[in-house]
């Protein structure tokens, strides 16, 4: 057999494995590709953020404009997250547990926000609420600002992140079927009891991950928010817009310091995904193990 370092194949049979030089070559290509496109950018963010030392890094983060951006970003996420969680649960309940006409159309439409450019996601709200938009004159007459203000940022973020929780829950709830809910009904449970006691505990991990993902995307949205925000410093600046401003002002260390916060958030999100997958896979594995075990007879 081979003595090459990285070639221990997952399957033992030689008939279904490539010769070792091929394996080394494929692993090398995959490694270089991922290294260039994933690892190097990550390293670059932190390296550039710390270029001028820890003190400069800290200063960039406590700068009043940066703090304002952090505040607005958190406010946006705090509004968007609960709304999209409720939407995701409602949509998944209707789509996964019931049969109705137009279901596959609805399922396709839910992906729309993923399919359109983030620039368009912002633009549509400018067309509705902007100065030249349909509701613009009426809003201006009543002194309500949507575009170039916080409501516009919230709306654009809502649009972009709206499918995330639903997308996470629908396949999960479809795979779980309706038998447990039916069992609860037969045992006398009312509608609310069925949801809180049976459905929710079964989807909690998927829901948690959907929420974390939704949060990360809400905090990290750039294109859509950029179109509606008006880039007013300290007022309508989210974290990502703040990064852009600093970068365009050639304050690279500052831009990367703020970017490193968002990068940490992304890494936490990836970690959460692994955790949730591990939890659900562990459940599935225990079930399969018991299934394979000899069925216990009656004592």
């Amino acid at each position: 057999m081979t003595t090459a370092p990285l070639t221990a194949a997952a399957r033992p049979s030689r008939a279904t494995a490539e010769p070792w030089p091929v394996r080394v070559l494929l692993l090398g290509v995959a490694g270089v590709f991922l290294g260039l496109f994933l690892v190097l950018p990550l390293v670059a963010v932190f390296a550039q953020a710390l270029e001028n030392g820890l003190a400069a890094y800290g200063a960039a983060l406590v700068d009043p404009d940066a703090r304002g951006a952090i505040g607005l970003t958190m406010l946006t996420a705090a509004i968007v997250l609960p709304l999209n969680v409720v939407f995701g649960v409602a949509a998944a309940w209707a789509i996964a547990k019931f049969e109705f006409r137009g279901k596959s159309l609805l399922l396709t439409l839910i992906d729309l926000p993923f399919a359109v450019s983030p620039v368009i996601s912002g633009l549509i709200y400018v067309l509705l609420f902007g100065a030249q938009g349909w509701l613009g004159p009426w809003l201006a007459a009543h002194g309500i600002k949507v575009i170039f203000a916080v409501p516009g940022i919230v709306l654009a973020t809502l649009f972009v992140t709206c499918p995330l929780v639903a997308r996470e829950l629908i396949p999960l709830m479809q795979s779980q079927g309706t038998e447990e809910e039916e069992a609860a009904l037969v045992l006398g449970a009312r509608g609310g009891q069925v949801f809180w006691r049976v459905t929710l505990p079964n989807i909690k991990w998927g829901l948690l991950y959907g929420a974390i993902l939704c949060n990360a995307r809400a905090m990290g949205e750039f294109g859509a928010v950029s179109v509606v925000s008006g880039h007013i410093r300290g007022l309508t600046n989210t974290l990502t817009l703040h990064v852009e401003i600093l970068y365009n002002e050639y304050n690279f260390a500052g831009a990367f310091a703020v970017a490193s916060l968002l990068t940490l958030l992304a890494l936490v999100t990836l970690g959460a995904k692994q955790l949730v997958e591990w939890r659900t896979r562990r459940g599935g594995r225990a079930e399969r193990a018991a299934e394979a075990a000899p069925a216990g007879g009656i004592p």
């Binding site: 008939a15 494929l26 991922l34 049969e99 839910i110 399919a115 633009l123 992304a266």
Partner: protein, 283 residues
């Protein structure tokens, strides 16, 4: 709402259908469908001659060429390298595999602006990769090649994540059967594995393409944004908007929206194809 819903569905004993579907439609309608409809209506309102002039202006045509060309190139790169990455993740063992697997999703989770400045700093003429590449006579940042790099980054997870589960579900017996029938390893891969993976590859390609076409954040930093040269369509829309040419922005956006729709439908058909192909035999 509840009454209409009752007629729509096959009757079920589970509660809450009317409420759930009603809220879903109301919310989705308000947040997504009505605003999108506003774009369509606004785009239509543009006088047709002006519409044509906007969407066929040389600057717009150059932007389409760059957007579609760079997106196709990036999606193509992702098909080749994404398939290799998926294969390595499913079939081989190597150190830090779990971490690598998790990291593949980074472009989903990392804000595009962050990706944009990170890639730009790497590939700029003064950057870690930009300097040696420039010395070789291959400038990346502020050229169409830079756009391809950024779009490859944002599309990277799609092919890997659509191909990976198909490879995982692939029955080892299939390959053993092929081998027992005398097929060489490369024949097994070409004639047995590739056809199985093909729908997933196509789906991944379409998903990466759709994502790349609309991409804004990661591109604008690395592209240089020179009109007629390195300006992508989403950027052109933003520029129109900043010039208070709302109609022009809406017209260009409508063209992009139409392209997105076609891709979304294609993706749907592809996904149906791949789930049909993956349906278990028997039963």
């Amino acid at each position: 709402m509840a009454i209409a819903a009752l007629q729509l569905r096959k009757r079920s004993v589970l509660p809450g259908f009317g409420l759930a579907l009603g809220f879903t439609l109301l919310y989705f309608g308000l947040v997504v469908l009505i605003p999108l409809a506003a774009l369509v209506v606004r785009g239509m309102q543009v006088d047709s001659a002006a519409f044509l002039k906007t969407v066929t202006a040389p600057r717009a045509l150059a932007a389409y060429r760059l957007s579609f060309g760079a997106s196709l190139a990036a999606a193509g790169l992702n098909v080749v390298f994404g398939a290799i990455v998926a294969w390595a993740l499913v079939r081989y063992r190597f150190p830090l595999k779990k971490v690598v697997d998790a990291l593949v999703d980074l472009p989903f989770a990392l804000p595009t602006a962050v990706a944009g400045i990170a890639l730009t700093s790497l590939y700029a003429p003064t950057g870690w990769l930009g300097r040696p590449l420039a010395a070789l006579g291959v400038p990346v940042a502020y050229t169409p090649l830079g756009v391809v790099v950024a779009l490859t980054f944002v599309g990277l997870p799609f092919v890997v994540r659509t191909v990976q589960p198909v490879l995982e579900d692939l029955d080892a017996e299939l390959e053993e059967a092929a081998a027992s029938l005398g097929a060489q390893r490369w024949q097994t891969i070409r004639r047995v594995i590739l056809p199985e993976v093909l729908p997933a590859l196509a789906t991944g390609f379409a998903l990466a393409l759709a994502r790349a076409l609309g991409e804004y954040g990661s591109v604008i930093f690395i592209a240089g944004n020179m009109p007629l040269k390195t300006e992508v369509v989403p950027l052109l829309i933003v520029i129109k908007l900043e010039q208070f040419d709302t109609g022009g922005a809406a017209a260009l956006a409508l063209v992009m929206l139409a392209a997105s729709f076609v891709l979304l439908l294609t993706i749907n058909l592809l996904q149906r194809w791949s789930t049909r192909r993956r349906a278990p035999l028997g039963d």
